[in-house]
Symmetry: C2
Subunit: 195 residues, 2 copies
């Protein structure tokens, strides 16, 4: 790819949109530098998120299973949550792991971040690795949470994927920082009806 | 993980929210089976998406670089788009690859789907692999697009990640279906300032 500069789009106008609980919507009117066409872009302003690959001394992965309101079914995912104001991403990862699962660790390693959706979300999701996690307390779920915690080997995660219970893109992204998912995911595909 | 059933949350009320161009917001009031607490959940209703790992005969990956309104900077990503009504995900993948890049292929392989965000999005993102793609036409970008197309080796993609130009979680997810990203992403992390 040639090192072509991408021209920033000029922002003509911006307007705060409705409060959506999880985010605040914002509308930006931006000018396309290619054709001067003005586009109304929807941006969802959200704090950064974090999720955690938490490994037990036996190298099992701590997962949470919960009913998810977007897909209206249950989903097996990595522990995750929203970074609170004034919290570092590591502090949030430690807190979310404790609240959602009761596990704790002294060995934390930053895996990096992704942008959950550059097109309409302004935030990042920070992936953390916690090694030798131990169950130290009871869960402290929020009022709006109902979580089942489990430990899974990568073979068991593979079955969750194969059987369609684990499809969360940000869990995949965090796991892909630690494991080679390509073989697992290729096998999973054969079980998908062609859409 | 024990095979505990997750109780579906009872939907008390639902209400259509504001039109956000890319999605329609919906508010669901749902009852937590654990504590009977009623939660107002925000759901963004969206058509399914698709993105494409398009490989040239030299095994380079076709990428697009564009200014993204969510992050308000440029982003290197796989070709991607929204599946139109009555389109299959493959038809959409073929169309988006042609419109965004001008490339075409006769060899398409379904890689599976992820759920971009089970918590608040109701849709799926279908990953497709196109082999031996060839540039056959000019780009046909939408009025709201300004795209630079390139071909990159995995080493070049790695540099895009290292230097922070490629962070799109759904591009990572599609690539993780084909490549072992763990080594690349581990190296990339060392370049991240700790958040």
């Amino acid at each position: 790819m040639k090192d072509k500069n991408i021209t920033e789009w000029e922002k003509i106008r911006t307007e705060t949109g409705p409060d959506l609980t999880l985010f605040t919507a914002r509308f930006d009117w931006v000018r396309n530098p290619r054709n001067a066409h003005i586009l109304k872009a929807t941006v969802l302003e959200s704090p950064d998120w974090t999720n955690i690959v938490a490994l037990t001394p036996e190298n099992k992965i701590v997962v949470v299973r919960q009913y998810r309101f977007g897909i209206e079914e249950s989903s097996t995912e990595l522990p995750a949550g929203i970074i609170e104001p004034k919290e570092t991403s590591q502090e949030a990862a430690i807190r979310e792991l404790r609240e959602e699962t009761g596990y704790a660790s002294d060995e934390w390693e930053y895996l990096g971040y992704v942008k959950p959706n550059p097109a309409f979300l302004n935030n990042r999701c920070h992936h953390w690795l916690a090694k030798n996690v131990i169950k130290q307390s009871e869960q402290e779920p929020d009022e709006g949470e109902d979580l089942v915690v489990g430990e899974m080997s990568m073979d068991e995660i593979k079955m969750e994927i194969l059987e369609g219970r684990c499809r969360d893109s940000l869990s995949f992204s965090a796991l892909a920082h630690v494991y080679d998912l390509s073989e697992i995911l290729k096998n999973a595909t054969r079980h998908n009806p062609l859409p």
